[in-house]
Symmetry: C2
Subunit: 155 residues, 2 copies
DNA sequence: TATTGTTATACTCTATAACTATA
DNA sequence: TATAGTTATAGAGTATAACAATA
C-alpha cells in the first residue's frame, strides 16, 4: 500500500496545501487567516468581546489581542466600549472591514473553484457532502480549526 | 455562504485534524510523522544517503540529521559507509525498524478506517479517487507534504 | 569549487505567567 | 475571588550560516 493511496494521506496533504494557498492569496489584502476568521464572526454577530471571539476561534485571549490590533491598525475593526461590561471591548466591523471581508470571500471562492476544477458540479457536491459527514463524525467544532490559528505565507 | 460549506474549508479542517491524529497515534511507537516518512522511503529503497532522503521528504539536509539521529537512537536505522561516496552515509533500515514501520502502517490503517467510517466502501473509493485527481491537479509532489515535516503531538 | 554531514546561531512562534481594571 | 484585556517572558521549533571532510 503506497502512501498516496491512503485517504488520510491525501486529506492531510491536500488540506495543508489548501490552507497554505489561502494564506498566500489572502496576504495581498493584508489579512491572515485568523484575521479573516474574526471578520467572518463579526459579520454574523457584531460587537463581540475579544474573549468571545477568542472562544469562537479556538485561540487564547492573549493571542486575540494581537489579531484585533492588526485589524484595528488597518481600520477593519474598531474597539468600542462594551455596553454591559466595562472590562471588555466591543469589537465592531467597520465599513472598510466589511469591504475587506467581501474581498477575502472572493479570494476563497476563487481558490475553491481553482482547487475543485477537475470535478464536475455533481462530483463537487458529492465530495463536499462526504467531507461534511467526515467532519461531523470526527466531532470537529464548526468554524474553528488550527489552520486559522496563525500561519503566515512563506515566501 | 457559510465557512463550513466551502470545500476548501472542509479540506483544510479535516486535513489538519487527520495529520494531528496521526502524529498522536504514532507517538506511542516513538515515531514522529517525518520519521515514519523516512522509514517508508527506506523500505522502498534502502541505503539512501541523508541528502537523498532529505530531497525525497522535502526537508533540509540539516533537519535530516536530527531525524536520522532519532531513528538511529531507537535502533530503527543504522548509518553505514556509503559505497560510492565517502562523504555520505548510507542509511539502512534495521529489523526492528522494519517492525516499527509495520506497526506504524497498522496505525495508519486504523486511523483511515476510523476517519472514513461514515462512508460505505463505494463512497470511500469514490472519495479517494476524487482526492487523487485534486492532488494531481494541484501539482503536489507525491510523498512530500508539510505535515510530515515536523509536528509533535500536542498534549 | 561544489557537496555531504554536522553543529551553532539566530529568528520566529507559541504558551505561560503576571499585571490592571473591573465584576 | 474571578474575569477581560494587556504585556512580558520563556520555551520550543525552524531556518540560516558556517565548518570539516571529501568529491
Amino acid at each position: 500500500m503506497e502512501l498516496d493511496d491512503r485517504g488520510v494521506y491525501l486529506l492531510s496533504h491536500l488540506g495543508y496545501h489548501v490552507a497554505d494557498r489561502f494564506a498566500h492569496d489572502l496576504a495581498p489584502l493584508g489579512l491572515q487567516p485568523a484575521q479573516f476568521g474574526v471578520l467572518t464572526h463579526l459579520a454574523r454577530s457584531d460587537g463581540r468581546s475579544q474573549q468571545e471571539l477568542a472562544d469562537q476561534l479556538g485561540v487564547h485571549r492573549n493571542a486575540m489581542v494581537g489579531i484585533v490590533d492588526a485589524l484595528e491598525g488597518r481600520g477593519y475593526v474598531r474597539r468600542a466600549r462594551h455596553p454591559l461590561d466595562r472590562r471588555a471591548h466591543a469589537v465592531h466591523l467597520t465599513e472598510s472591514g466589511r469591504t475587506a471581508l467581501d474581498a477575502a470571500r472572493a479570494v476563497a471562492d476563487e481558490l475553491e473553484a481553482s482547487v475543485l476544477t477537475p470535478l464536475d458540479a455533481a462530483e463537487q457536491a458529492s465530495l463536499i457532502a462526504m467531507l461534511h459527514r467526515l467532519v461531523d463524525h470526527a466531532g470537529l467544532p464548526p468554524g474553528v480549526h488550527p489552520a486559522l490559528r496563525t500561519r503566515l505565507p512563506r515566501v
